[in-house]
Amino acid sequence: MLLAILVLPLSGYVVNAFAQAEQQAEQTTNPRSDTWRQVRQANEGYTAVKGRETNELIQGSGQNWRQLRNGPMATYGSWLLAFVLVAILGFYIARGRVELTHPRSGKTIERWTLNERRLHWTTASLFIILGITGLSLLYGRHVLIPLMGYPGFSAYASIAKWLHNILGPVFMVALFTILIKWFKHNFFTKTDIEWFKAFGGMVGDKHPSAGRMNGGEKVWYWTLATAGVALCFSGLVLDFPNFNQEREIIQIAHIIHLLTGLVLISFSFGHIYIGTIGTEGALEGMTTGQVDVAWAEQHHDLWLQDVQQQSNEHNKKEE
């Protein structure tokens, strides 16, 4: 009782102290630092000046983009491209060309129709132009300016930029047509697992079975169907600034575009090598459309069987 009499009147101090502490807690931030904190958090303000994101005083993400692009992207990208080229050269020296194991039979069958070849070479030439112009924008400052000088590289770069912007959407149409046209040939099957286990016949003398598309071609297809599609859509974001997309979106799109572009370019080195000097008799399939039966037997045996079966049935029907 005595204790209560002594303590209770003091409770007012406790309440008061709490209230004071609360008030102080509210005022712990300096109003001026609050302003600058808002600025650093890229909060939107008001401005009378019309234009893209003019009401944002400071955008912080640009510095991240700069460091990603100039740092890891440019550095590891060049390493990746160099590594792939060196690996291909090393493989060519070690293994050499994958020759035909049986002599040419002289008989040929159609591997790619005229339409497929047109589509392939349209996409391929666009890819090469876009790849070279794109790499010029990333590495030209370090590689081409010392060769061409500032005015020379500037003149080339403005043409490169224009070409890249114009041909990008055209490439997108061509790529999407290819992806749709060859979609049904590119599902992975058990044959492909065996194909990968034998390294596609590139190492050793085994000749793993393959249908019309082998495992490697399917991987290239699905790389294009994922990274290629991401490349196209991120490219559209960059190509059309008239929709007033925010810088942060552009920066993300740019990093995606760089990453997928570098992956596809390094992948295309392998594709080009295998399709030309790496494999005897492969290029003629895409130029003339016809491949030798011996080549088909070696590289795409299951497809050859299908084709022969179909033509047999066709002949039977005609009889």
């Binding site: 001026r32 609050d34 009378a48 000046v49 100039n70 500032y150 810088r247 740019h254």
Partner: protein
């Protein structure tokens, strides 16, 4: 050599936009391009602050770092300038710049960018000082005439100051000391002091 700097005193800026207008007029900046703008934080709320911003002429300039054709250069005065003959209008400097300084006149369809334009600290470009060519491309070169940027010269409350970094810093420090932590152009204490 002086190291040129801009400083905007947020306690003094009254968002009159005179700096924006002065700049646009002095340099005959094309339609749609603004080298300087005033941004107001907490507009219409207690604690509202306005800040005038343009190119801050960074020492480690992001625009300079990302330019694919390397068209930027820093003068002996620490002013970041660019060569419009080299610029290809790719937009990278706009992505990288924290202050949104680089601007592009629209050239052609789909928002295709023309050559970049930005604040030159009234120092022109790589052309001969005060030549007609320099005037056409970059506007007046006041620095070559021994004058400071017009935006700051024009500022009615002297919120925006431009010049040698040491002098600008001393000026601002003396203001801060005088204020003693209180805003000196804001609220009842300023207008109705006894």
């Amino acid at each position: 050599m002086a190291r040129m700097k801009f400083l905007c005193d947020a306690e003094r800026c009254i968002e009159c936009n005179a700096c924006v207008t002065a700049c646009k007029n002095e340099h005959e900046v094309p339609w749609g391009v603004n080298r300087r703008r005033v941004v107001t934080i907490d507009d219409g709320l207690p604690g509202e602050k306005s800040i005038s911003v343009a190119c801050m002429h960074c020492t480690d300039a992001p625009c300079q770092a990302v330019c694919p054709v390397d068209c930027f250069y820093t003068t002996d005065d620490g002013v970041v300038l660019h060569d419009k003959d080299i610029c290809i209008g790719c937009g990278y400097c706009f992505y990288a710049c924290p202050f949104g300084a680089p601007q592009y006149p629209q050239e052609g369809a789909f928002g295709a960018r023309g050559k970049m334009d930005k604040c030159t600290f009234c120092a022109g470009g790589p052309e001969e000082d005060n030549s007609q060519e320099e005037l056409d491309k970059y506007g007046r070169n006041r620095l070559a005439e021994g004058k400071l940027p017009l935006c700051a010269e024009m500022c009615s409350t002297k919120a925006l100051i431009a010049g040698d970094g040491d002098i600008v810093a001393d000026l601002f420090r003396s203001r801060v000391v005088r204020r003693g932590g209180r805003p000196d152009s804001w609220g009842w204490n300023t207008a109705y002091k006894d």
